[in-house]
């Protein structure tokens, strides 16, 4: 039996690895290659330009704007998403009244979970369209009419350069919280209740329980979420492409790297240059992920 095992395992591994190699690894390697060329993307011929594309990137003010916006997203999106998701997960699990014995979640726990998770079921462009309609800029728009009841004039939302990126951020967070809520929820429910009850008996308040017990217990999960959310924040392509003016506007307020890659690669016939952007984004993502895992490393708590 033993001699048959290796081919058996390889048989299962091979198709997956082959697909991965052809559709993921090979294009990645090619991107590095094309980033050194002036390839247009529509003709088979191209020439090598060395690091010229990267030098131009350095001077590209639009790329810098995009990078700055991505950085802002990188800071705010994971922080708020994780905090909100943690907070809600905590409430759902141990936020219920503690007057009687034991720790329990608030009433309607399942309902809330479902509600929070709902955006996850919708595809990103659908979410983008829904929110574009909600944030309609005319006085009869959904949000603007509500503001109108309180005598507040029509707000520009996505048409206002000062607000546009925050609107995108809000939708991104709104769409992500549900998933991480469920994730944290699952992690929390695997934590023995006794720990919370012990904390309660020791006189810990809700805030102390959250900060001193919940967060440390969920650290592994939080760490992983952080990396995922960071990658999400470096992308946001679909939301920006569908929701924003231009897209990337107004006044490049919502310009992000992924948008620049798509524009250069497909619209401007500068696939080599776009590949260089892709390489930078790749390196950047890798660096961020490594940094986050490194900084947030802590001792593991066993229970």
């Amino acid at each position: 039996m033993k001699h048959g095992r290796v081919p058996f395992i390889l048989g299962f591994l091979f198709p997956g690895l082959a697909l991965y190699g052809v559709f993921v690894i090979s294009p990645f390697v090619q991107a590095f290659h094309y980033s050194l060329t002036d390839w247009t993307g529509v003709a088979p011929e191209f020439g090598y330009v060395g690091l010229e594309n990267f030098r131009q990137l350095w001077d590209d003010s639009l790329f810098r704007t995009a990078l700055a916006n991505n950085l802002l997203l990188l800071v705010i999106v994971p922080t708020l998403t994780v905090l909100l998701a943690l907070f809600f997960a905590f409430l759902l699990n141990v936020g219920g009244g503690a007057q009687r014995a034991g720790v329990r979640g608030i009433r309607g726990n399942g309902f809330y979970k479902l509600m929070f998770f709902l955006p996850q079921v919708l595809s990103v462009p659908v979410i983008a369209v829904i929110w574009s309609v909600i944030m309609d800029t005319t006085p009869t728009g959904l949000l603007n009419s509500v503001l109108g009841w309180f005598g507040i004039g029509a707000v520009g939302w996505l048409a206002d350069p000062n607000l546009a990126l925050w609107c995108v951020m809000w939708v991104l967070i709104w769409g992500s919280v549900g998933f991480y809520l469920v994730l944290f929820n699952a992690a929390l429910s695997s934590v023995p209740r006794d720990i919370f009850e012990a904390a309660l008996i020791d006189g810990a308040g809700r805030l102390a329980t959250f900060a001193r017990v919940t967060v440390p217990l969920l650290w592994d999960t939080i760490q992983t979420s952080w990396v995922y959310l960071a990658i999400l924040a470096l992308d946001v392509y679909a939301l920006v492409a569908v929701m924003t003016a231009g897209p990337g506007g107004p006044d490049n307020a919502t310009q992000v790297i992924s948008l620049q890659i798509a524009q250069n690669g497909f619209q401007f016939g500068a696939a080599g240059y776009a590949s260089a952007m892709g390489v930078v984004l790749f390196a950047f993502t890798l660096l961020i992920a490594a940094l986050m895992l490194r900084i947030s490393r802590r001792e593991r708590i066993e229970y």
Binding site: V22, F23, V24, S26, P27, Q30, A31, D38, W39, T40, G41, V42, A43, P44, E45, F46, Q56, L62, S123, V124, P125, V126, A128, V129, M135, D136, T137, T138, P139, N144, A154, G156, A159, P161, V236, Y237, A238, A241, V242, A245, G246, P247, G248, G249, P250, D251, N252, S258, L259, I261, A262, Q263, N264, G265, F266, Q267, F268, G269, A270, S275
Partner: protein, 493 residues
Amino acid sequence: MTVPSTSALFTTSSPSSSLSSLSSPPFTSVSRRIFLQRAGLASLAVAGSSVLGSCASGGGGTDGGGGAEKTDDNPFGVEPSDELSVVIFNGGYGDEYATFHEGLYTDKFAEAGINHKAITDIRQQMQPLFNAGNPPDVLDNAGAEAMPISVLADTGQLSDLTELFDAESIGFDGATVRDTLVPDAIESADYEGKPLVLNYALQVYGLWYDRALFDEMGWEPAETWEDFLSLCAEIKSAGIAPLAHQGKYPYYIEQLVFDMAVKHGGKEIAYAIDSLDAGAWQSDSMRMAADALLELKSKGYILEGTEGLDHIQSQTQWNQGKAAFIPCGSWLENEQKSVAPKGFQTTVAPTPLLPDSALPFECTRLESAEAFIVPTKAANRVGGLEYLRIMLSKEGAGEFTKLTSAPTIVLGAADGLDLSPGATSATALIESGGDNNWNYFYDKWYTPMRPKIETAIGELAAGRVTADEFCAQAQQAADETAEDPKTKKRTRS
């Protein structure tokens, strides 16, 4: 040489394509905006197909077909039995007209099989074929995902159409094809002195209004800026916003500003901008036109919140009578067909004249669009040329207008046809404008410049910058383009 393929790094952000169907305006100028939504998906497809393909360097192999005896009836020497592959952008015009043209082709060459393909994702499907040196014989490179035409031209992928333009036209009593076309079709075909692109449909830009509403209210589109302002005041007092625009895509309101500037300063304004001349955007005419838009904004003549609306939303507001005018091209009527209330008469008016304008009121920007190309590496290249000649025949072009109610570049092909109000007024403007009608090319010649100009126009339309700031910002975009080593400069005069 390695196989060119779009990198996977493009797809780190692959979006869903499900949205693209939400709006499918028929023309490049409009629908290209949603191409981004599919772009990520495209790259995946491209990466996949080219990796799996054989060596893509291609290049040799095809002689372009033909070789049969050249006669008056078969001026390019098409080999009657050669198959012809035709790829049509299946957008607002559909592909019924192409089926008709193909019918005319097979009437002539009964043995020729036709490989007809009507698609919307041109780039995704065609890019690998071009890269592999195996493109179709005729490609309608249009729509949201058209390939960058100037790049195709610069990389030598497009056949010289001189032969076609010099050939005898079908159904015009011995005139050459060139003689039957509007001047813009000849000019817009030209890349470095050679005609490479046949832009088949003729788009008419202007300010659109509902003739029925204007008749009812006793309004008439104004010819001078002064009259336009008093008309706006009147419209506003009737509780209607005088002007709406597709604020999410500043391209539309750009048409108003650009047209007023060119009419004031003459076609040289557009020539200078297309040639990337120093200070081209900072002419008095451009500044006055920008100021005019700011005046509309500051007087409250622009629909509130229109800056955040996309083309469908704003045009719908216009259809619902919430705004009197909207800047657009002649596809508007067709695009809004399902939304326009009964009795709505989509009609185009030229933009008003600034004081001391060089051009008359009755003229506008005409754009030949829907780029038909015959790739140099096409297997049946001469068949492709013959197919274009058939498209440009009186019968072929007339049928296109009949089926799509859109004018073509073939003069007089639609004479005597019964057209919709929008198409009728657009056709009338083509004729009354005559040689004063004008066009710009910078957006197609220098694609990276386009979003920068749109950003500047968007800020102007929102009233966040002054006319001077707008001109300076646009000029900066032009200067950056002129200095960009990746961009090929072109001139016009």
